[in-house]
């Protein structure tokens, strides 16, 4: 399934705190066309609690969340 999803851009936000991580996500999404996928890596704790909610509030769609050790890989469709 994952192979079918074409990722247009990747962003590793490990160690990036709130709200900078969200701002960086937002900027990355601005560079994409509608329908393209952004992959981000988020830390556990505050980032995973805050960033997905803000992405949703901005009207983008989270299509997949994958837990890798203490981090999360999230696919966002613009």
């Amino acid at each position: 399934m994952e192979k079918q999803i074409k990722i247009a851009k990747k962003l590793d936000l490990t160690g990036v705190i709130c709200p900078t991580n969200f701002v960086k996500t937002k900027l990355a999404l601005e560079d994409l066309k509608k329908g393209q996928i952004l992959e981000i890596i988020l830390d556990d704790g505050e980032p995973i609690r805050n960033v997905p909610r803000s992405i949703k509030e901005d009207g983008h769609k989270i299509i997949k969340v994958e837990n890798i050790k203490n981090k999360f890989k999230i696919l966002i469709k613009k």
Binding site: D44, I48, R49, P52, R53, K56, E57, K64, V65, N67
Partner: protein
């Protein structure tokens, strides 16, 4: 409050000379300062909501009568004009009246209702705390309680910025979550969002296992869910009674979660009536509850649980 008693002792002659309505002074909003003849005037600003146009006019009045070069914003969302000379009391009062601005209440009366931005313009708000504060203020402001002050407060969500749990009666916006398995992609974000341990992510499927007994109905799981599998089932308020701050703070008792918004005005009325009937002089309702037991309060306000 007690400083007015001192004022009253001043002889009748002086009162006549000043031509000041002491009853009005006492009923509220005028607070004696530490220097002779100077007063602070506290304004009635329910929900901390001040029309810009009126604020402009208040600034002019403050410049004209306030002997201080500042105003003071209080913790309960009021604005105070500082150092008004007692001789200017009547003129000030009538100028405020002209622009539709009332003063706040003092003594054993219902205080101005406070409220945060709520859902009207705050991203986290669940109930319209502004509208509810204005509504209940219109209904209850200044009502004598005989025993003590009575504060009403509304918070849009469980962050409780307005400190509703520190008011005599407080309301906090709540949502009961519902779940549609069909829409769930098993991402586990809802479990991450829940700070109460009320959702655990199933190890195999990632789907939520919900424990209603731990849920405080904050709605965080709904806000984060990317597919709206977690959705709003019901909106209401946490109903809290008996909070106070001051010398001996007391956090309000939770009476019920998900109290229906349409019953807010009736429950405030019942609670004030209960306090008038059961309270003792100078006692806040929280202490009345401690003395008589929360069961008695719950039974006598006779709120039928609707969930």
């Amino acid at each position: 409050m007690s400083s007015f008693d001192k004022l009253d002792i001043k002889n009748k002659k002086e009162q006549k000379k000043l031509n000041v309505d002491f009853a009005e002074l006492k009923s509220g909003g005028f607070i004696k300062q530490n220097k002779k003849d100077l007063f602070t005037v506290r304004l009635r600003v329910p929900g901390g909501r001040m029309p810009i146009e009126r604020l402009n006019k208040i600034i002019k009045i403050a410049q004209k009568y306030g002997k201080a070069n500042f105003v003071h914003f209080t913790t309960r969302q009021s604005l105070e004009i500082i150092s008004i000379n007692i001789n200017d009391f009547n003129k000030l009062k009538s100028e405020l009246k002209k622009i539709g601005q009332q003063t706040a209440s003092c003594g054993p009366r219902v205080r101005v209702a406070t409220g945060c931005g709520g859902c009207e313009y705050n991203a986290r708000g669940i109930i319209d705390a502004q509208k509810l504060a204005l509504q209940s203020d219109r209904k209850f402001f200044g009502i004598p309680t005989i025993h003590g002050k009575f504060k009403i407060s509304f918070a849009g969500c469980h962050s409780d910025c307005t400190r509703a749990k520190g008011a005599d009666i407080g309301f906090i916006g709540e949502i009961e979550p519902g779940w549609s398995e069909r829409k769930c992609i098993g991402c586990g974000l809802c479990a991450k969002a829940c700070l109460e341990g009320a959702i655990i992510s199933d190890k195999k499927t990632g789907k939520p296992v919900y424990d209603a007994s731990k849920c405080i109905f904050c709605g965080d799981c709904i806000k984060i869910c990317p597919t709206s599998a977690m959705h709003e089932k019901k909106v209401g308020c946490g109903l809290y009674v008996g909070g106070k701050w001051g010398r001996h703070p007391r956090i309000a008792d939770l009476i019920t979660h998900l109290f229906p918004a349409k019953d807010i005005i009736p429950v405030i009325k019942k609670t004030i009536d209960w306090y008038i009937k059961n309270g003792k002089k100078r006692e806040r309702i929280g202490n009345t509850i401690d003395r008589l037991g929360i069961k008695k309060y719950k039974n006598e306000i006779n709120y039928k649980r609707s969930y």
